[in-house]
């Protein structure tokens, strides 16, 4: 049997000189592989006497472990060198541009969601109604008698009709949803109705189509104090700041008493700040639902009463987010949509703030 020390020195020297992984693996095979030198020596232990076994066994084991350890260490060194070497050719210009998604949501839709969040938190659920309405739901049931001058103020779009029936209209407000809901459901009723509305008018501050959100609450004992409470809460939550408001008497055929709500505002240059300043701006109409409206829906005004309100979504969006011109809302200019739109992950909720 060869001298163990000699063998150890031989492999130590070979391992030291080896400079690539493949050669190193060959060294491993020739030394400690199945048929390698050290393995063969170990096989011979079987033929030895007990005393020889006791002497040579540990020595050979130690030699084997030593060589394996040296190989592993060398392997680790060579791998590190290989990685370092590869890195020299693996550099990329990390400043190359990538295109992030420029997708956006329309501010009017976003604002309607904000409103829905605020009102649903006050117990209002969402009701919807059709854009093409009949005269009954859009006017008569809302206490606009046929021929009443208040009808003219609505600049109504009429659907053409061949026969002499009363013409259908494009709803001039979201109030017909009140009627549809009150006819369908029994009080208590607590709804908001967002949607498209239409008036035959087009200039800098009017578009033939716009959006409203209607609110309706009918139950026993609901009075103007509740109405005031809801709207004051709403307006501060919506503008995300304390907003001073003023209620003024007004006239709407479908409410009695009727009111308009103004908010404090200040014009600074071309921008408008809501909540502060010395001027008042009207932002919505409201009132106690007229007994005739309740009657038209089969609700007894001596038993039930309640309030309704309606507001223009587009205008409130402009006031909150500072868009200068109403008409741009519907012109689909991608530059405008990207500038005033909201990122897709922006979702109104009260936990993280509306906007």
């Amino acid at each position: 049997m060869k001298n163990i020390e000699t063998i150890k020195d031989k492999y130590t020297s070979i391992i030291y000189k080896t400079n690539n992984l493949k050669d190193l693996d060959n060294v491993r095979i020739s030394a400690v592989g199945k048929k390698g030198e050290i393995s063969s020596m170990m096989q011979e232990i079987g033929k030895m006497s007990i005393d020889q076994k006791k002497q040579m066994g540990p020595l050979l084991n130690s030699l084997k472990n030593d060589i394996i350890s040296q190989i592993d260490q060398k392997k680790n060194e060579l791998e590190t060198i290989a990685i370092d070497k590869a890195l020299e050719n693996e550099s990329i210009d990390m400043s190359l541009p990538i295109n992030l998604s420029e997708g956006t949501l329309h501010p009017v839709q976003q604002v309607m969601e904000e409103m829905a969040v605020i009102f649903s938190n006050m117990g209002f659920s969402i009701a919807l109604g059709p854009d093409i309405e009949d005269d009954f739901h859009n006017f008569t049931a809302l206490n606009f008698p046929p021929g009443h001058p208040a009808r003219d103020m609505h600049d109504t779009f009429f659907m053409s009709s061949e026969n002499n029936d009363i013409k259908k209209v494009l709803r001039t407000h979201t109030s017909p949803v009140q009627i549809r809901t009150m006819i369908k459901d029994k009080p208590p009723i607590r709804i908001i109705a967002p949607g498209r509305t239409f008036r035959c008018d087009s200039d800098q501050t009017h578009t033939p189509m716009f959006h409203q959100v209607e609110g309706l609450y009918i139950d026993k004992g609901i009075h103007m104090g509740h109405l005031k409470g809801v709207l004051m809460d709403f307006v501060s939550k919506f503008f995300e700041t304390e907003v001073e408001v003023q209620f003024r008497p007004h006239h709407f055929p479908f409410t009695e008493p009727s009111a308009e709500m103004d908010v404090r505002y200040e014009r600074i240059g071309s921008s408008i700040k809501i909540g502060q300043g010395s001027d008042w701006m009207e932002i919505l109409g409201c009132g106690m639902v007229h007994p005739n409206v309740l009657r038209a829906c089969g609700i007894d005004p001596d038993e039930y009463q309640g309030f309704a309100f309606g507001m223009g979504v587009d205008r409130l969006a402009m006031l909150k987010y500072g868009m200068p011109d109403l008409r741009d809302m519907f012109s689909s200019d991608t530059r405008w949509l990207k500038h005033y739109g909201f990122g897709p992950l922006q979702q109104a909720n009260l936990a993280t703030g509306l906007s």
Binding site: P97, N99, S101, G103, T104, L105, H106, Q109, M122, G123, S125, I126, A127, L128, P130, I132, P146, G147, P149, A150, F157, F158, M159, S160, S161, K167, L170, P188, I191, R196, D219, H223, M224, G225, H226, K228, G229, F247, R248, P249, H250, H251, E256, P257, E260, M288, P291, P301, Q305, F330, S331, S332, T334, L337, K338, G341, G343, P344, L345, Q347
Partner: protein, 794 residues
């Protein structure tokens, strides 16, 4: 409605400032739209006197005036022919703004043909008062030099403009505005009472009324030997201040009463009348009105006729044949009540708008006919003189409004306010209501307040005057969440799907619900019942069958402006008819097929981009994409070979997507291919109600999945999805995925065929698969695909 502060003060005793008055008006429901004081723009102008006027040495038409002004003696060069020594004139100092000419004077003396001129002498047109311009203003000699012009001319009088809501025709008279302010505590009402005037002879003109429904009552009287001419200065000024043009004393008197008391009247030149006056429903005739236009009356119009001719449209406009002029000596004054609806119908049909019509169509005070006639009589006597006849009448003055039984507790129940009974009584009586107080109050509504018909109306009156600011805000009662509506699924689908699309880089738009009729037809819509009778323009005259139309037009507009990479979507309604159930939600989007160059390779927009869009949106709405069936769309506006329909079962058509038909693009002037999609979210079958939120238990196998590749040759016409589904259905328990990784055409594959390569993932659940197991499932897969028209490529 405009009125001046001084006019108001003829009815209201008050020291309140204009700001206080405006505030009270606003808070009681008279919404002030503007306050203008003509004195504002007259501020720089003062009275001056020409001490000496002589001809300019270097100009024939100019004069050099030495003028005594509040700034001392000034030399002013003036071109007016009427400038002369001793004249009192309007002086504008240097730097003053001249409103009628819209320019500012130089701040330094100006050299006019060699003479330094310091300031300007003004005409009435130059200071913005009058149009007729015959030279500089020749002021009354009694004015002292330096007096502000506004003061000298009595023009320091704010004009208030406010919105008259249609329920309050009484606000079209200044006396009613005063009544509101007095009730609200801003002053005391002092409208003078009107004395009744006895006639000295009986009227030789009689009244006949054949239209008692449309004109319940008409009264009138003759005044003989009047002298018509310009009305007195005070009357002219009062009318001018609110923008009315003085015409003659008689016309001005009727205009004055229309605005002072909301009572329209008409005065006829009695000598131009043939016989008596008859009110009747019209015949088909033509007549010339005071506005010098000819109108065709018909049988629905209330006409006023004499024995020969139509004299006018009752309550709307008089005729020119009997109008008063400077030679008029005998007159007949008419005072009537016309049915508002009839007035509206006629005026609307003939497009006539007059102050009389504006009042009659809203309803005038039925309690003020006699007094109105007497007031007019008195004014005619005062201004024009004459002898008065007795009053003639035809028809009955309408009964006063019905008495309201008013339970005072309604005030608190509707508003939450505790208002004392005394206060309630006072407010009502200040507003002209007569209250008899028993257990419930009986309230007599004044004749000018026919808008008040029940308790709620009275509550509004009381709270309006008491002040809305006194109402305390109250929190809403708790609500029962089980009463919430079930629209939440629709809301959530809208919120999620729109975000899915925006996340894919699309921009959300909102476009009109109406489109051009011809475009609606291109998109399989545009039936006649969806046309608008009065569209805003002919490009927007029909309710849309799809949101794609405006998105297409918008995509082209953006491209034309230099922004070709358009990816738009919209969530909005579409209309297949005019009934509520004919309106559907539409989620549509499109992309212009513009290759986007990039260092990492050109990004192609193609039908599969649209497919990714549509499936992302559907997926976000919890639609099981794997369960969708692909069919051919039935809409004509899709490219026949590059479009598809997605549906769940035969009934629920969820979406179409693909390329828009090139013919449509051509007709709409779109210069680029467009890929698009349309989703009908209403067709997504609703989830079962009350279904548990808890998910099915997940069972995971510890066994390794293995994969095997297959290639099948199929006809070109066979959809690849069919092959995938066939393979997948071969052993649903074992096959967990099918991945199509290659499509090959060319050498080795016959023309008209394609080779589809798929990877099948096998996920054993109980035991590791043996070669025999794999062999068996492979056979099943091949057999299943063969049934769908594919055979194994070898």
């Amino acid at each position: 409605m405009k009125f001046t502060l001084s006019w108001l003060k003829q009815h209201l005793e008050t020291d309140a400032s204009i700001d206080e008055i405006v505030k009270t008006m606003t808070l009681t429901g008279l919404e002030v739209e503007g306050v203008e004081n003509p004195a504002e723009q007259l501020r720089p102008f003062t009275v001056a006197k020409i001490i000496n006027a002589e001809k300019h040495p270097n100009a024939d038409k100019l004069k050099i005036c030495t003028v005594s002004t509040l700034d001392g003696e000034k030399t002013i060069v003036c071109g007016a022919p009427n400038a002369k020594t001793g004249m009192k004139v309007v002086y504008a100092p240097m730097g003053a703004y001249i409103p009628g000419a819209d320019f500012e004077l130089d701040k330094k003396p100006r050299n006019i043909r060699g003479i330094e001129s310091s300031g300007m002498l003004c005409s009435s047109k130059e200071i913005g008062l009058d149009e007729d311009d015959i030279g500089i203003m020749d002021l009354d000699k009694s004015f002292t030099v330096g007096t502000p012009l506004a003061e000298a001319l009595d023009l320091d009088d704010p004009v208030i403009d406010f919105e008259v809501t249609p329920n309050r025709p009484d606000w079209l008279g200044v006396d009613s505005i005063a009544r509101e302010l007095a009730a609200a505590g801003t002053g005391k009402l002092k409208t003078k009472s009107i004395e009744s005037i006895k006639g000295k002879f009986s009227s030789d003109i009689q009244l006949k009324n054949n239209a008692l429904n449309e004109c319940p009552v008409i009264i009138g009287r003759v005044i003989k030997n009047v002298k018509n001419g310009p009305s007195p200065k005070w009357l002219q000024n009062q009318l001018k201040a609110i923008g009315l043009r003085p015409i003659s004393a008689l016309v001005d008197i009727t205009n004055f009463i229309a605005f002072d008391r909301a009572r329209p009247l008409h005065i006829y030149d009695a000598d131009a009348l043939s016989g008596n006056i008859t009110v009747s429903l019209g015949k088909e005739v033509k007549f010339e009105a005071l506005d010098e236009k000819c109108y065709h009356t018909n049988t629905e119009d209330v006409t006023i006729c004499d024995d020969k001719n139509v004299l006018g449209l009752g309550g709307i406009i008089g005729g020119s044949s009997t109008s008063c002029n400077e030679n008029t000596t005998n007159i007949f004054i008419e005072c009537a009540y016309f049915d508002p609806l009839t007035i509206r119908k006629t005026a609307k049909r003939l497009s006539i708008n007059t102050d009389a019509k504006y009042r009659f169509e809203r309803g005038v005070d039925t309690g003020f006919l006699m007094e109105g006639l007497d007031l007019a009589t008195q004014m005619v006597l005062n201004i024009c003189g004459g002898e008065v006849s007795e009053i003639v009448q035809s028809g009955e003055i309408p009964a006063p409004p019905k008495i309201i039984e008013f339970n005072l507790s309604l005030v608190k129940s509707l508003t939450g306010l505790d208002i004392s009974e005394d206060k309630v009584m006072q407010i009502l009586s200040d507003l002209g209501f007569k209250v008899e107080n028993n257990s419930v109050c009986s309230v007599q509504v004044p004749t000018w307040r026919r808008d008040v018909t029940e308790g709620a109306d009275l509550v509004e009156e009381i709270v309006r005057i008491y002040g809305y600011h006194n109402i305390k805000p109250v929190k809403l009662p708790e609500f029962d969440r089980t009463l919430l509506h079930d629209n939440t699924i629709k809301q959530r689908n809208s919120i999620h799907s729109r975000r899915a699309l925006a996340n894919r880089g699309m921009n959300e738009a909102i476009t009109w619900s109406f489109v051009k009729h011809s475009h609606a037809k291109l998109f399989d819509g545009g039936s006649d019942d969806l046309l608008l009778e009065n569209p805003i323009s002919n490009d927007l005259n029909c309710m849309r069958p799809t949101a794609l139309i405006h998105l297409l037009l918008a995509s082209q507009r953006n491209a034309d402006k230099g922004f070709p990479n358009v990816a738009l979507f919209e969530s909005g309604p579409i209309y297949t008819g005019t009934e509520p159930q004919d309106q559907h939600q539409n989620l549509a989007g499109l992309r212009r097929v513009v290759p986007r160059r990039s260092w990492s390779g050109t990004k192609i927009v193609d039908v599969f981009t649209a497919k990714r869009d549509v499936l992302s949106a559907l997926n976000s709405m919890n639609v099981k994409i794997d369960n969708l069936q692909s069919t051919q769309t039935t809409k004509s506006y899709w490219h026949p070979g590059r479009s598809s329909r997605l549906q769940m079962g035969p009934k629920n058509i969820l979406a179409d997507f693909g390329e828009i038909h090139p013919r449509i693009l051509k007709e709409m002037g779109i210069n680029c291919r467009i890929v698009a999609f349309e989703i009908w979210p209403d067709s997504i079958p609703p989830k079962k109600k009350n279904k548990s939120k808890s998910r099915q238990e997940l069972s995971l196998s510890d066994l390794m999945p293995i994969s095997r590749d297959f290639a099948f040759i199929v006809k070109e016409s066979v959809d690849s999805k069919k092959i995938i589904q066939a393979a997948r259905s071969a052993d649903k328990g074992l096959i967990s995925g099918v991945n199509l990784f290659d499509i090959y055409r060319g050498e080795g594959v016959e023309k008209g065929y394609k080779s589809i390569a798929i990877e099948i993932i096998l996920s054993p659940k109980l035991a590791t698969l043996t070669d025999n197991d794999i062999e068996a499932v492979s056979k099943k897969i091949i057999t299943s695909v063969e049934k769908s028209g594919g055979f194994l490529r070898v």
